[in-house]
């Protein structure tokens, strides 16, 4: 891709970075949900702890 002025370059890279940041937010939510999912299961079924 050709950039005629610095503004074009910044628009391109910043746009991609903003899209990435959106994906990261969703990704972090996914990781957190994955890591803590078993904690919630234990919370939902306290008798599971007693076993």
């Amino acid at each position: 891709m050709d950039y005629y002025v610095y503004h074009d370059f910044m628009m391109h890279t910043k746009s991609i970075t903003y899209i990435l940041m959106g994906l990261f937010v969703v990704g972090f939510w996914g990781i957190w949900a994955f890591i803590t999912s078993r904690d919630e299961e234990l919370h939902k079924f306290p008798e599971h702890d007693k076993e």
Partner: protein, 386 residues
């Protein structure tokens, strides 16, 4: 006499003795014949494996000190208290060895006071790193001293120093934030020498963020290595809390590695360097980022979710290797990437042996301390003093 001599002549001690003897010979050569005799350093490559491994890896892997003490004392996670002393000891030895190893690279140890007290270059990043390391080694020495004072039976002084814990922890976090990032910032000065995939205006952020999982992984890794030989030195509290420390730190390391992975991608996007990913250098970058950042993050997440201690311990080793790989890539592999192969740097055998010597000195001092001082157990006289 014979019993004591026999107990000292173990295979580990013999290997240690051989490495220390070789290291001492190289030390004499370095300080009598100069850098050229023992290293492959030249005008193109003034920083080699002594900076790349002993300093950059040493500082990153010693980050367990500030991460563990801030988790325990600043965030109030007292369940990690038993991990604080081993982490502080590792950090203290790590930083002390960084200063020790730096003497070999810089030379003239008697001039060590110059950059701090006599000729401070206050506009230099190197000065900032030097000042931070000088102050942080002092902080770590004071943070570690209660263990030594308990061992020596100096109760009054120990209680005085113990009161400084919170202030020292805060000071330690501030100093670590400064110099962990500054070590990365040093390479911002060489955009034409460092490959674009590793060069970034965010290098300072990358070095600091990566030091967090490095420190957490090192605490898990070192705890795993220490568990077998010093199991008899560990008290019930330490053994009971061990699993909780591993699971909690694995969770933290997973999130921190995920954050590091994101900053790595942003660094590539910011300079629009995506096209380099299709080259050989890109393949190597992907090995580092997918194999030693994204994969450990995922494995830590699975390990902490499934409470799989064995998986977490292997992942800690993978992360430590990944951090070493990253520091090697920045300081040596991707550095001067445009030079022809015959002008590229590869460490000499004596450089590598000296780095092994430095690590061996650290392990020997570590063994001496944990075999005597209350590191893995609470001193009977101070059980309720935390």
């Amino acid at each position: 006499m014979t019993t004591e001599n026999k107990s000292l002549m173990t295979p580990v001690n013999i290997i240690t003795g051989i490495i220390l003897a070789i290291g001492l010979v190289i030390t004499v050569l370095r300080f009598t014949k100069g850098l050229g005799t023992v290293t492959n350093l030249d005008q193109n490559n003034p920083w080699g494996v002594w900076i790349g491994f002993d300093l950059l890896c040493g500082v990153a892997l010693a980050a367990g000190g500030y991460t563990t003490s801030s988790a325990c004392y600043l965030f109030g996670m007292k369940k990690y208290h038993s991990a604080v002393r081993p982490a502080i000891l590792t950090a203290f030895l790590g930083y002390a060895l960084v200063v020790f190893a730096l003497h070999f690279d810089v030379g003239r140890p008697y001039r060590l006071v110059y950059p701090i007290f006599l000729q401070p270059g206050t506009t230099s990043l190197l000065y900032e790193v030097g000042l931070c390391v000088f102050l942080y080694v002092t902080v770590l020495a004071i943070e570690f001293s209660p263990a030594a004072l308990e061992w020596l039976g100096m109760k009054k002084l120990r209680n005085t120093v113990h009161k400084l814990t919170l202030a020292l922890t805060i000071f330690g976090v501030v100093l670590s934030t400064l110099h962990q990032s500054s070590l990365g910032a040093l390479y911002i000065a060489v955009p034409s020498k460092l490959h674009p995939l590793w060069y970034s205006p965010y290098l300072a952020v990358l070095f600091f963020v990566s030091s967090i999982p490095a420190g957490l992984s090192m605490v898990i890794f070192e705890g795993t290595l220490a568990h077998k030989p010093w199991h008899h030195m560990m008290d019930k509290t330490h053994l009971d809390e061990h699993e909780g420390v591993i699971l909690g730190f694995a969770r933290g390391a997973s999130i921190a590695l995920a954050a590091y992975f994101c900053v790595k991608l942003v660094a590539v996007a910011y300079d629009n360097n995506w096209h380099y990913l299709a080259t050989g250098w890109g393949a190597w970058w992907l090995v580092e980022v997918l194999g030693f950042v994204a994969l450990p993050s995922l494995l830590y997440a699975i390990g902490s979710r499934e409470k799989n201690i064995k998986l977490i311990k292997w992942t800690a080793a993978l992360t430590v290797v990944g951090i070493i790989l990253n520091r090697f890539n920045v300081s040596m592999v991707a550095f001067n990437w445009q030079l022809p192969a015959d002008q590229r740097y590869f460490p000499s055998l004596m450089e590598i042996m000296l780095s092994i010597f430095v690590v061996t000195v650290g392990v020997t001092v570590y063994r001496f301390i944990v075999s005597r001082m209350p590191i893995f157990f609470e001193h009977p006289e101070y059980k309720d003093a935390h």
